[in-house]
């Protein structure tokens, strides 16, 4: 259990890359990239977690500020990361649409505009 969360994160990154390697469709490859990125969020949040009933880093009128909370910094990083992922995915999908228009295929095995 001690490192299971980290291993899941690493697994997501690797399986995402594996997906890109064997992809036969650029949209599939882009989606696999976002899976790999999801691995980074899982890693960040897992690093910030604290067991033993630590609460979310948000204090209300009932909860007095205290340090027994999970790490807010990794959460802020993950938030930033999520928005970045959406935008980069959008750009890559836009490029994929154009590739399909120009070449009539999005199978990396058939694309041949750039060689040598």
């Amino acid at each position: 259990m001690a490192i299971y969360a980290y291993l899941v994160a690493g697994y997501l990154i690797l399986i995402g890359c594996f997906g890109i390697i064997r992809s036969r469709h650029l949209v599939h490859a882009v989606v696999c990239l976002s899976i790999a990125q999801a691995g980074t969020y899982v890693l960040l949040i897992a690093i910030g977690y604290q067991a033993g009933g630590a609460s979310a880093p948000v204090f209300g009128s009932t909860t007095k500020p205290n340090k027994h909370v999970v790490d807010p910094v990794v959460q802020a990083m993950a938030l930033t990361d999520i928005v970045v992922s959406a935008t980069v995915t959008a750009l890559l999908l836009a490029l994929a649409i154009q590739i399909n228009k120009r070449q009539g295929t999005v199978d990396p095995d058939e694309l041949a505009a750039l060689k040598g």
């Binding site: 259990m1 001690a2 490192i3 299971y4 969360a5 980290y6 291993l7 690493g10 690797l14 890359c17 594996f18 390697i21 064997r22 897992a46 690093i47 910030g48 977690y49 604290q50 067991a51 033993g52 979310a56 880093p57 948000v58 204090f59 209300g60 009128s61 500020p65 205290n66 340090k67 909370v69 999970v70 790490d71 807010p72 910094v73 959460q75 802020a76 990083m77 938030l79 930033t80 999520i82 928005v83 970045v84 959406a86 935008t87 980069v88 959008a90 750009l91 999908l93 836009a94 490029l95 649409i97 154009q98 228009k101 095995d109």
Partner: protein, 245 residues
Amino acid sequence: MTRPARLIIFLLGGGVVAVAFVLATLDLPHFGSDHHPYRDLSVPAAVQHGTANVVSAVNFDQRAIDTFGEESILIASVVGAAALLRPSREETERRVPDLGRTLESTRLIGYVLLPITLVLGMDVVAHGGTTPGGGFQGGVILATGLHLLYVVGSYPALDRLRPVVPFEIADGAGAASFAVVGLIGLGSTGAFLGNFLPFGQFGQILSTGTVQVLSGVVGVEVVGGMVVLLSSFFEQEIAVRPEDR
């Protein structure tokens, strides 16, 4: 390279990297441990600035420049996607699509959910400093809510509700205002993105200085950005192909 060759290279490389990663995690503090030095600094700093949501405090106050960079990425991608998906020479811009009929019940659910999401989204933006949520989350919820209309099958309705230009302006204005707030901070506190507003009572909505302002600005930008981004994709989807005319 053949598929098997590629796979072998990846498995060899990935294998070494995976071993290194596993060894590295064994050296880490265990999952759920109490070792969080940055948190121990960050929580008191947030409380000192009267921000109850420490995540927002980190995002909009302590590490606000990260968020500034990220908002710039958002608008850069929006501009980029718009440039990439511009109708090319041979394509005419658009037509009114006929997406067919949708079940009345689906439509009803959509219409009921729409105002709920919108209200929820605004609430999330407004209370970013005190409860979970903030500019990103609220903005994303608002943008999602608007696109429920598409699920309902009424793209024309979405189009009427969502003339793209105001959202483009919202997007640009949001990102630019973030920078402007930062410059005002520079002018009044001597540091870029300095928190120049009074901090007020802990836990109150207007208690957090610039956190609330930046959160709102980001909310506006994210709504604008996401809507414009999605609309570039919608435009492609319904664009008239030359032969169809």
